[in-house]
């Protein structure tokens, strides 16, 4: 069995360990009731994937993966979770969209089965090397190769990522801005806000933080 799965060799062992880590992290994200746990599971998955990158000689990407995902994205998630104090549990059993909950796994399982079957039977037929661009393993390691590719073959996509970053910055500024005036009158549509005077007139952040625990108690 072990020989069949190839665990006798180190790289096979690495693959299997990482695969288990990745899948376990994924399961954690999908199933955990508290966002904090989900975020931590996400970190697990990211690390596992980073190691798999290393196993495939993509060292630079592995580093970027850890820095960007684990270092920035997940931390941002954790920050928002903590900032909002939304660590309350989500009851997985209460499901308003029952049909969707039943249907989704079936669909996804079917899709997965199809993909895996393809992999098993069709040997993942990949493109011929004739089309491919610069090979890996050039002098200077993969950092140099990546850098060269980014400034030659992928110059235009690389440049337009600047637009993406502008959008992200402007978007964050717009969204973080306080509403210019108290909301005029959505109140007729949302009767629940009538009971929350705090929701209509946003108080200063301090008073907001103070009022939060009491509301949480009310909700739960």
């Amino acid at each position: 069995m072990g020989a069949l799965l190839g665990v006798t060799r180190v790289d096979f062992a690495v693959f299997w360990v990482c695969a288990v880590i990745v899948v376990a992290g994924g399961v954690g994200v999908v199933l955990s009731r508290q966002p904090v746990y989900a975020a931590l599971s996400l970190v697990l998955t990211m690390f596992g994937i980073a190691v798999l990158f290393v196993a495939q000689d993509a060292n630079f990407l592995a580093a970027v993966q850890v820095i960007v995902y684990a270092g920035a994205i997940v931390v941002l998630f954790l920050f928002v979770i903590m900032f909002l104090g939304v660590d309350r549990r989500e009851d997985l059993r209460v499901e308003p969209l029952r049909s969707q909950r039943v249907l989704a796994p079936v669909l996804v399982a079917m899709a997965l089965a199809v993909v895996l079957l393809l992999g098993a039977t069709a040997h993942w037929a990949v493109g011929a090397p004739e089309v491919v661009g610069p090979a890996r393993g050039q002098p200077g390691g993969d950092v140099a190769a990546l850098g060269r590719a980014v400034f030659t073959d992928y110059l235009w996509p690389f440049e337009i990522t600047a637009g993406l970053l502008i959008i992200a910055v402007v978007g964050a500024v717009v969204l973080a801005r306080r509403p210019p005036r108290p909301e005029p009158d959505d109140t007729p549509e949302q009767p629940e806000e009538l009971t929350q005077p705090a929701g209509i007139l946003p108080p200063s952040p301090e008073s907001r933080e103070e009022s939060e625990p009491s509301e949480e108690e009310v909700v739960s």
């Binding site: 199809v114 993909v115 393809l118 039977t121 069709a122 040997h123 993942w124 037929a125 990949v126 493109g127 011929a128 090397p129 004739e130 089309v131 491919v132 661009g133 060269r148 400034f151 030659t152 073959d153 992928y154 110059l155 235009w156 996509p157 440049e159 337009i160 990522t161 600047a162 637009g163 993406l164 502008i166 959008i167 992200a168 402007v170 978007g171 500024v173 717009v174 969204l175 801005r177 306080r178 509403p179 210019p180 005036r181 108290p182 909301e183 005029p184 009158d185 959505d186 109140t187 007729p188 549509e189 949302q190």
Partner: protein
Amino acid sequence: MSVAVRAAVALAVTTGRLRLPHIDYLSILPVMVMVGGGVVILVWSSLLRRPLDVAWVSSLTVLTATAALVLSLFQWDSVLTSGAHTHIDGAVVMDGASVLIGVLVSSAVLLTAMVGDSFLKREGVEGPELHVLLLVSGAGAMIMGSANDLIVIFLGLEILSIALYVLAAFDARRAKSGEAGLKYFVLGGFSSAIFVYGIALVYGATGTTNLPEIAAYLARNVLLHDGLLLAGLGLLLVGFGFKVALVPFHLWTPDVYEGSPTPVTGFMAAVAKAGGFIAFLRVFASSFHLLAPDWRPPIWVLACVTLLLGAVVALWQQDVKRMLAYSSINHAGFVLLGLQAATSRGVSAALYYLFVYSVMVIGTFAVVTVVGGRGDRRHGLEAYRGLAARQPLLAGALTVLLLAQAGVPFTTGFVAKLEVIRAAASAGSTDLAVVAMGSAAIAAFFYLRVVLLCYQPARPVEGTSAPEAPQALGGPTLALADLGAEPSSSLPGSVALAAPVPEGLGAGQAGTLAAVAVAEAEAPTVAAGGAEDETDPLPAGAVTTIVLSVLFTVLFGIWVEPVASFAAHATLLVRP
């Protein structure tokens, strides 16, 4: 951007090892102008102590969009003289389709900027962000239009979409706006992930993400196991389906259209759809043309359900924005007809459809913006009852635009529907053409319902007071507070804007059109102002947009040749 390029050049010169691609700046100039304009506005406003006046921001935006429009026309000239070509190591393509999208997007930004100006003034929102986001997301759509590589399509899509997520959530005072942004974001992110996985599989199957190279690879090789490629293609289809709101993937559309600020909704309907479809067309009709027997049947099915569901569900919508959302789904079905034909005629028809649809949908939503009133909330059908008596110009424009959407002859809408149907019929999809015509007949019902409502006399006094009672009771203090905060901001504003707008439009004919628009805007302002005190005076920016779109719709509906021949030449998709 250019700084980075120059640094790269310097690096190449010093090392001597880096072979930099040749850059033809004309091909990317519209994009650069759009992004650059946005950055200039952003920087300028951040240097000022007080927020930049909205009129300035809109004028600059209009100016930028006009510049991009003119540059696109230069590109058109270049394409006509020297044919379609690719640039920057094959990442950018300059052909008829990309130029058409450039023209489409810059006009859409131009038109929306003027509506946005009226909107911001009415809502009392300051700051340049709305216009900057419009410019940058427009640039994203242009990038998609000129993309010759799957990854460029993906990046353009993300620039477009992320800006639209923010724009959808822009109106911080309406809860629905934030929810629209969130819903759009979740489903948009989901579809992006699917799309990118599709790219991965296609990359794996063909070894490249460059569209002509994919086509060349498929032309040279017979794939014994094409499962991977087809799986990738399917995922791409799903991703595009989400972006352009085809039926099983349309669930976000009504909510997002309803919740977003109305000018943004118009922009979204025009530009997001155009950007999504041009990439859709390019990938499927050009790169995967050889696989047409594989992808035509599923698209046939998608087109069928999209056409029918869009038309049928719209029938019982009570909110005009939701109704227009379903109508946009129906329109997407029509564009799909052109794609399903998988001929150059079909592509041309689809592009023509997108072009004229974007003009009329922006005009329609400009009317909806004005009717929506302060707070952007009056979008129920009842708000349109008796519109003709209150604001004849507005009602007339809405009539023309909705009839055009319904496909009545002598409007661009008719020509567009006719062209796609002819394309479908000539490609052998006669059954689909029949379905499309049936759905057009059904769709006429709900457009007509709104139009007729406009021409019905307002309900007698006790009748009218009932639906507006909540406003009257719930908001008197707020209304007073608004007036106190900004004494009569709307009327002087509209007069003030009358000057910069014609300048921004520049070119001769457009200038006269705008002059007409402003002249027409003033007349009913006086008339309507006295008649009903609760009616706001017509804002000049929105009215300019409305008049321009109506003129376009009618003029080119009768004088078909210019736009039709533009679209007919716009099929020069690069083929291997």
